[in-house]
């Protein structure tokens, strides 16, 4: 008996990713309030600290998974024409994957001192 399908699983992913996003964003907010990096070099140095880099690398897919469930909910609610819905889902899917890859590349490049 499988309940792994699109209902429960999507809901669970949304809730679970929200927990990580909440903690990480609170950390980022506190850090940037109390100890804001002065320039690009300082920002790079912060982002390449091993724990911060790991946190950021995890943040990207978690954020995208959360956003995907959210945008899918919006499209299921409001866009009822099948063609338009699939088109928009593909568009958002590609934009999300591209943004994710770009963000990961930025984190890795910063880590390599680029």
């Amino acid at each position: 008996m499988s309940r792994q399908a699109s209902g429960l699983m999507a809901w669970l992913i949304q809730r679970a990713t929200a927990v990580y996003l909440a903690f990480f964003l609170v950390y980022v907010l506190i850090h940037f309030t109390l100890n804001a990096p002065a320039d690009h070099a300082a920002l790079s140095a912060w982002a390449t600290r091993p724990w911060v880099a790991l946190g950021l690398m995890l943040f990207v897919p978690v954020l995208l998974a959360h956003a995907w469930v959210g945008i899918r909910d919006v499209l299921i609610d409001y866009v009822h024409a099948l063609g338009a819905r699939i088109g928009l889902m593909l568009l958002f899917g590609f934009v999300f994957i591209a943004s994710g890859l770009w963000a990961l590349k930025a984190i890795i490049t910063a880590g390599l001192g680029g």
């Binding site: 008996m1 309940r3 399908a5 209902g7 909910d73 609610d77 009822h80």
Partner: protein
């Protein structure tokens, strides 16, 4: 007191309009009394009502933007001129009378009755007082439809999303110690639509004239799904 009611007769009107009436008030007057007064002045005006005491659930209407049961809503609680419209999101049959077919179909879909697999006993199926208490806040629903027709998710997908009223009843039978169809009930709720269109907006909780909490019931269903599914 001035009351403004929604008028639409699909046989003669091309679009709906609001019509004003002056009604005499009395102490303890309910919105239903005011609508009856309008009906006295204008026989062509239609609305549903029956018991007059919040039991039958017939006279759900939208008063000043909020779904209420007209018979238990004192007019003293409403800002005048009172604007009375049909329950939102439902096709209007005439004036305040709406087509609730989809609402009842969703109710029917959750199998709102006990399912037993064991042979039925000669007499009643016993239940402990503690198990009986689990049904409090669930069985009291009178199916007036105030909740589901206040739910944006039900507005967008009334054919696929069960809506708060039906889901409250779904939990009422999942929570019943005498029911033996838990797995089947949960399986039937899978997918993105029937249960998971609920985004915890909680309009249902706000408007329920019986003070019930469909959002909490939906949360219990999700918990049970997790419990049985993971």
């Amino acid at each position: 007191m001035r009351i403004s009611v929604y008028r639409f007769n699909p046989d003669t009107d091309t679009k709906p309009r609001m019509q004003d009436y002056e009604v005499k008030t009395f102490q303890g007057m309910m919105l239903r009394d005011a609508l009856l007064e309008v009906k006295k002045q204008d026989e062509s005006f239609s609305f549903r009502h029956s018991c007059g005491e919040g039991v039958c659930g017939s006279d759900g209407v939208n008063a000043n933007g909020t779904n209420v049961l007209a018979c238990i809503t004192p007019i003293s609680e409403l800002k005048t001129p009172i604007q009375v419209r049909p329950l939102p999101g439902r096709p209007v049959i005439r004036d305040l009378v709406v087509d609730m077919t989809q609402f009842y179909e969703q109710y029917r879909a959750v199998k709102p009755y006990l399912v037993r697999k064991d042979p039925l006993p000669e007499q009643e199926i016993p239940q402990s007082p503690a198990d009986r208490d689990k049904l409090d806040g669930l069985y009291e629903c009178i199916l007036c439809g105030c909740c589901s027709t206040a739910c944006p998710s039900f507005w967008w997908n009334p054919d696929k999303f069960h809506g708060p009223a039906a889901l409250l009843q779904s939990w009422r039978f999942l929570a019943d110690s005498r029911d033996q169809a838990t797995e089947e009930r949960l399986d039937a709720l899978e997918g993105p639509y029937k249960l998971f269109r609920c985004h915890s907006i909680m309009n249902c909780v706000e408007v329920c004239p019986k003070g019930l909490n469909p959002t909490r019931a939906i949360g219990h269903i999700k918990e049970l799904m997790l419990d049985k599914g993971l």
